[in-house]
Symmetry: C2
Subunit: 160 residues, 2 copies
């Protein structure tokens, strides 16, 4: 018999604890947001998170405010895919990773390591403190390449 199961969602639990540790309150909206971010992976826009929350639980503005508060205590990380809307993802400790974003379908692949640590180190050597970085990679994924090929081939064939 399993004695005491590790909590079904330990990330969620420790996230809630992190809130408490920072004298931030554990409210229903925050719990809902963190439930989403600790289970589904991949950065979401504020709107996307909002739509995943059961209707009526909270306002869109609350999602904005909660995420801002969570970013401040490093519970979540804000990503910028350069399309005008910030995205948030759960911050799994200091295990840094990065994304490859498909420029066409906006799908996201996660790269589980980081090449920029050396850059951060250099920034520190230049005298900077509190160094962080953002790095995103963009491209067109295989699927979208295929679709494009099927649709309008490499030669649009404009008649003379």
């Amino acid at each position: 018999m399993p004695p005491s199961h590790p909590p079904a969602n330990s990330s969620l639990e420790s996230a809630l604890q992190t809130l408490r540790d920072h004298q931030a309150r554990v409210t229903e909206p925050r719990r809902a947001i963190l439930t989403i971010l600790t289970s589904e992976h991949g950065p979401f826009t504020v709107e996307e998170i909002y739509q995943r929350i059961e209707k009526g639980v909270c306002d869109l503005v609350t999602v904005y405010r909660s995420l801002a508060a969570m970013e401040e205590i490093n519970l979540v990380r804000r990503c910028d895919f350069g399309d005008g809307a910030y995205r948030y993802e759960f911050n799994t400790g200091d295990h840094h990773h990065h994304h490859i974003i498909c420029r066409t379908c906006r799908s996201v692949k996660t790269l589980d390591f980081c090449v920029a640590d050396s850059l951060e180190r250099m920034a520190r050597q230049l005298g900077y403190e509190n160094v962080t970085h953002t790095l995103e990679i963009f491209g067109v994924c295989v699927n979208c390449q295929k679709k494009a090929a099927r649709a309008g081939g490499p030669n649009p064939a404009v008649p003379g």
Copy 2:
């Protein structure tokens, strides 16, 4: 090979030529924008570029549209410092570089090399095409550290 063009303000001239090569027209606003971007270094917000242009030469909207057109043909590069406004800089060929942005005073230092080429290569190996990336480093510069120390350092040092 065309005969060697005299490199007067070579960056500006070749930028204008790039416009022509893409059947984009060389207008006064565009010339003004490129003059700024090829002489002053460091990415500027649209507003900053606009304010550097002699008053009356063009509308703010034209700066937006011109920069968008120029980005499409890779004449300029768009940077994102995560503060809500995009920034543009002249794209010096494929010689990639990156920035260290001071989180406090927003000053920018340029790093003349790039560590992310390997990441791009990997993205290509994963099947992605047309791969690019964005990478920015954030920190607090030496000056701002000093100011902070002078102002309200870790120990307010009440005399007596």
